[in-house]
Each structure stands twice: as C-alpha cells, then as structure tokens.
C-alpha cells in the first residue's frame, strides 16, 4: 500500500507542487492543511505516514505544529519545508521533533530523497 502524506503549507502553489511531486512518485497525499492548527487537527484524523510542514503559516506556525504533533506522537515523521535564510528556524524545528528538512525552491529529487529516507 502506498505511504500516506499530509501536506501543510499556506500557499496553494506550494501544496500543489509538493502534492504533484509526491503523487508522481507513487505516494498518496491524503490531506492538505493551510495553517498550523489545521495541520495538528488533520494529523490526528488522518494519521499519515509522513507530514511535510511549511514554517511560516497563519494561526499557528509550522514549528509550533511540529511540537503539538510530536507531543502526541514522538515518532511522527515530519519533513520541514523552509525558505532560504531560515536555517535557525530549521534547527528549532528539528529540536521540536521534525526529522529532516528541504529548502525552497525545491528540487523534486531532493524532496523525494528526503521522503524515502524518512519512510525507510
């Protein structure tokens, strides 16, 4: 069965792009979230195998969402998607429980590599 993924980003552009990359590689995107709060809620409902998480989102930022998700499931596999110049935030996200990160603009191969590594 295909691995399931939850894509979290406030930009529909980014969600579409990430969804395309993952779908073409045979993953199943089971949900999308536009805010950190939605990400936490949808994670709880959908229990995806993997989450891609933007850092800058309204309502609740991505780092806070990582923290919330990992509180409930420390094993959650979360891939941070950060823009350039957010290295410090990436470090913070990893400390909060994210497992890896990719930097925008994405190289599809880099995204897939990180996803494959996380899903083993």
């Amino acid at each position: 069965m295909a691995h399931t993924v939850l894509v979290c980003d406030d930009a529909i552009f980014m969600r579409t792009m990430i969804t395309d990359i993952l779908t073409q590689a045979g993953y199943e995107v089971v949900g999308e979230a536009e805010t950190g709060a939605q990400a936490v809620e949808k994670y709880r409902q959908l229990k995806p195998d993997l989450v891609t998480m933007d850092i800058v989102m309204p309502d609740m930022g991505g780092i806070e969402a990582v923290r919330e998700i990992c509180k409930k499931n420390p094993e959650a596999k979360i891939l941070m998607c950060s823009a350039m110049g957010q290295q410090a935030l990436v470090v913070e996200a990893i400390q909060a429980g994210a497992k890896d990160f990719v930097v925008k603009p994405f190289q599809p191969s880099r995204v897939l590599e990180a996803v494959q590594r996380l899903l083993g």
Binding site: D10, A11, I12, F13, M14, P58, M60, E64, K104
Partner: protein
C-alpha cells in the same frame, strides 16, 4: 513540471496576496494604532518569494525578499513604520504587481534596480541568525491574525478558469436555443406527451442556465478593492484630500462584466479626483469641507445592477462645455446650454475636453467616449448628473450578465429583432402613420423603426409601439408587430466598422433564423 499550471496558480495566488497587501498597508497607514499587520504582510511577501523562486522568476523573488527584510526590520523594531517606509512597501507591492503582470503576459519580469536599492537602503542590515532571532521570528507567526473586515463567505471554494465557464455557458446557450425550438414545436401539440416532456426540459434547462450564470458571478468588491490604493496615490500626487466611500461591495456581477468595468471606473475615478474635486483651499473658500468625497456604489436594480460614481466637487462647467462645443463645431453658437443628456453626448465626442493643459493624472481630454463605448459594449448604459459646486454623478446601468438576456421579439417588415427587456416600460398603440406616439395624452419622443431601417413610412395606421424608460424619460419605438418574449443568447461577434451603434448584438431565434439585438437607448 507542468509549468503552465503552476504559473496560473502563481498568478492567481500572487494577485490575491498583493491585493491583500494593499488593503493591509492602507489600513495601517490610516490607523497607525491598529495591531500592525506585519505578520500577514510578511507571509504574503514570503509566499510570493517562495513560489516565484520555484518558477525561477528571480527579479520577483529578489523584490519580495527585500520587502520581507523590511518587514523583519519593522517586526524587530529596527525600523519604524514611518511614512517613507510604508511608501516603500507600497512601491514594493506595485513592483511585484508589475512583475506578476509581466509573467501573465508571458514576458520575463524586469528588475527594478532603483526600487530594490531603495528598499535595501531602508531595510536594516540582516542580523546574524541566532536562536534568539529565531524565537522572535516565531513570535511573528504567532501574532494574532489581523481580522479582515470583509469575511469571505463560508464554504469551500474552487478556482475555475473563466474560459472553462465561458465554454460551459456557450453550451448552455446552445441548449437554450434548442429548448426554445423544441418548445415552439411542442406548442403545436397542446396536451400531448411531447408538450409535457418539452415543458420538463424547459424547466431543467432554465435551472441549468441559472446555475451556470451564478457560478460566473463575483462580488464587485473584486474590482472596487483596488481603488482605495489608487485614490490614496492620486490624492498625494494632486495635493488633494480625498475620501473614497465604497458601498454595496457585495453586489454580484458576471465575471466578464466585472473585468470590463475596471477600466471605465479607473478612468472616471481619475477624472473625478483630477478635474471634479477641488484643492483643499478651493473647497474651504467655497464653504465646503477640506476633504472631497468620491462615492462608488453598487446596488441591485430591477433589470441588473447600477454602479454609481459620485464626487462632491465643482461639477461640470456647462457653459465651458458649450463654448468648447461651439468652437469645435459640434454645436451652433446660438444653441441652448446642454442638459445632462446633451452634456454627456458632447463629452463623449472622441477627444473632447474643456481642459487645455494635459495633466499627469488623467492625461489629455476626459476620454468619456472610451468609457461610454465600453459601458455600451457591456450591454449597459450611462447617465450623467451634475450640479455646479455640488459635484458630478455618473450612473452606469449594467445587466447582471450579458450572455443571456430576456428580450421582446418584434417584427419590422420581413425582419425580426430582439429588444432587451431592461428598458421596456410598457406597450402602446400608435394611431398615426407618422408623428409622435402619445401615451395617456402625453406625446413621447418617438422613433419609427421603419424609418431608421430605411423602409419608409408605416403602412398601417394602428401599429404597436414599445414604450421605453431611458434615464427617467419615456420614449417610444414604433414597430410593425410584437411577436412575444424570449430568452436570447447573445452571440459574441466582432462588430464590423460602420455598424450603427443601436445594433447591440446578434442572436439565433427558436426557428434557427438569426436576429439582430437592438440597443434601444442608442436609437435616440
């Protein structure tokens, strides 16, 4: 990578973000005390930065990044929201909009070096990224979201390209024509099974038509929303104080009409700001408030939507218009000073202007002709009201959609014509072969369609006349026969040069014959 799809997403996303940036900046400028909308602005620029980078649009990325840096400075307190800072952010939004529109035209966006330099000069030097900054960045994300005064209607929304809706509407239009033909056949067999099925199909097609038309509707705020920013800039450039009052922003219009409305409204608002409103000193001297008001209002009407643009400025100088018209040979020297309708006719002569100087803002001439032509091409009509010292009002009557209109089918000689219901008031009988139609003892301004069409005088004495309400004035059009009412599908066509202005379009009648759609307002 499906570049076209991503580009379309990028365009619609970025336009939304930039529109929101303008709103936020205006709000911030007007009420510096409100919770600063830094977080939302930051996210908007950030999002544009991310998606433009993904598409390799470096000039846009660079500009968005520079704006983002300024916001980082504002957030950290390294930069204060001084007027020049807000101004720079406004210019960044403009620069990004230019870039986005270049992409929309399939052109590479250009780098506005001076703007970039200006932004970078204002933005504080980037601070070394440490954990402490990181947490301040997190604070930024956790700031309460500035609540938007206009909440989007609840429910899920989808974006659909207008072309797809156009194609769907075209199909529905063909279906309506086919339904009308079927109904015409079924009417010959009253009480038959064919008639029952035809009636059922009519109802279903009607529902489908309404549904497709509704899917094309968008609130006028999508057009109105750009004007606060424009008026702010105009006021600055002109040294005037201008308040823009928007009303009825939730009124909906067909997307295509809405798009067509942008240019004429932009033009009229520029005119109002430049020519209509006085300087603060002039206003005070005239016993008015320093601040001039431009009111833009949409309201539902029986046959469509009325968009009103009113200013409380000096009004149009009838005597000046009269003089210029005489100079240009448009009026005889002894002609009376024009009334409102006459004024609009004179102003809409191509290139007519009472101003001799060219201004930066509205350029040469009033350009009312372009506005009027556009409003007519949208199936609407325009009226003018003006009072010296009190201001000028333009009323634009627009149909809700221009794709399908309810029309009266009339016959003149061998031909049939469709007259949209919008202006119809009632029907009357013309008792004479020529002269004016009288309605309840009142003679009406009358046009005999036979004469307009070059068919000579009417042959019968008693002929039907349609009474129209054009801007509150009753007028009459005499025809040969009234044939009934019909939903007609307006076929798009490029009007040939020299086509009389009273021909508003063409449609296909239920029996498959083409018919011209008349614009009765243009007959008078």
């Amino acid at each position: 990578m499906d570049l076209e799809r991503y580009t379309a997403l990028f365009l619609s996303d970025s336009r939304d973000h930039l529109q929101r940036c303008n709103e936020l900046l205006l709000e911030w400028e007007r009420e510096p005390g409100t919770p600063e909308p830094i977080a939302e602005l930051f996210r908007a620029f950030h999002s544009i930065k991310g998606s433009s980078a993904a598409l390799g649009l470096a000039p846009i990325t660079e500009l968005a990044h520079a704006a983002e840096q300024m916001l980082a400075g504002l957030r950290d307190g390294a930069l204060l929201p001084a007027p020049e800072v807000l101004d720079a952010l406004f210019r960044a939004v403009d620069g990004l909009a230019d870039g986005v529109e270049a992409v929309a035209r399939h052109e590479p966006p250009s780098v506005d070096r001076p703007l970039l330099d200006a932004l970078r000069e204002l933005a504080p030097a980037p601070v070394e990224r440490t954990g402490e900054i990181a947490s301040s960045e997190r604070r930024l994300q956790e700031r309460p979201r500035v609540s938007s005064p206009k909440l989007r209607p609840p429910g899920r929304q989808v974006r659909v390209e207008l072309e797809r809706l156009d194609a769907l509407l075209h199909e529905v239009g063909e279906l309506v024509v086919a339904r009308n033909r079927l109904a015409a056949i079924a009417d010959r067999e009253i009480g038959s099974e064919l008639e029952r099925v035809s009636g059922r199909i009519s109802g279903l097609v009607g529902g489908l038509q309404t549904g497709v038309l509704r899917a094309r509707m968008a609130p006028v705020e999508e057009v109105f929303d750009r004007f606060p920013r424009m008026v702010r800039d105009l006021a600055r450039d002109l040294g005037k104080e201008i308040r823009l009052d928007l009303q009825g922003t939730e009124i909906e219009l067909d997307r295509a009409l809405l798009d067509g409305l942008t240019d004429p409204l932009t033009h009229l608002i520029r005119n109002a700001a430049d020519h209509g409103l006085e300087t603060p000193a002039e206003r005070v001297a005239a016993g008015k408030s320093r601040e001039g008001t431009i009111r833009l209002r949409a309201e539902g009407a029986r046959d469509g939507v009325i968009v009103t643009l009113a200013d409380d400025g000096r009004g149009i100088d009838r005597v000046g218009v009269h003089r210029r018209a005489v100079e240009r040979g448009l009026l005889d020297a002894d002609a009376l000073t024009p009334d409102a309708a006459g004024l609009l006719r004179l102003l809409s002569h191509p290139g007519f202007t009472t101003r001799r100087e060219v201004t930066q803002v509205s350029g040469r001439g009033v350009g009312i002709d372009a506005v009027l032509t556009r409003i007519r091409s949208l199936g609407g009509r325009m009226e003018l009201k003006t009072a010296p010292g009190r201001g000028t009002t333009f009323l634009m009557h627009l149909p809700v959609t221009r794709a399908i209109v309810r029309a009266l089918i009339i016959g003149v000689a061998e031909e049939r014509y469709a007259i949209p219901f919008g202006l119809l008031a009632e029907a009357a009988v013309h008792e004479a072969t020529e002269g004016e139609v009288t309605l309840r003892g009142e003679p009406l301004l009358t046009v005999d369609l036979r004469k307009t069409l070059g068919l000579g005088n009417g042959v019968h004495r008693r002929r039907p006349a349609i009474v129209l309400d054009i801007g509150g004035r009753r007028t009459a059009v005499v025809v040969d026969v009234l044939l009934g009412q019909q939903d007609v599908v307006v076929e798009q066509f490029a009007p040939p040069v020299g086509l009389p202005s009273w021909i508003g379009g063409v449609t296909i009648l239920p029996d498959g014959a083409p018919a011209l759609i008349l614009d009765p307002a243009a007959l008078f």
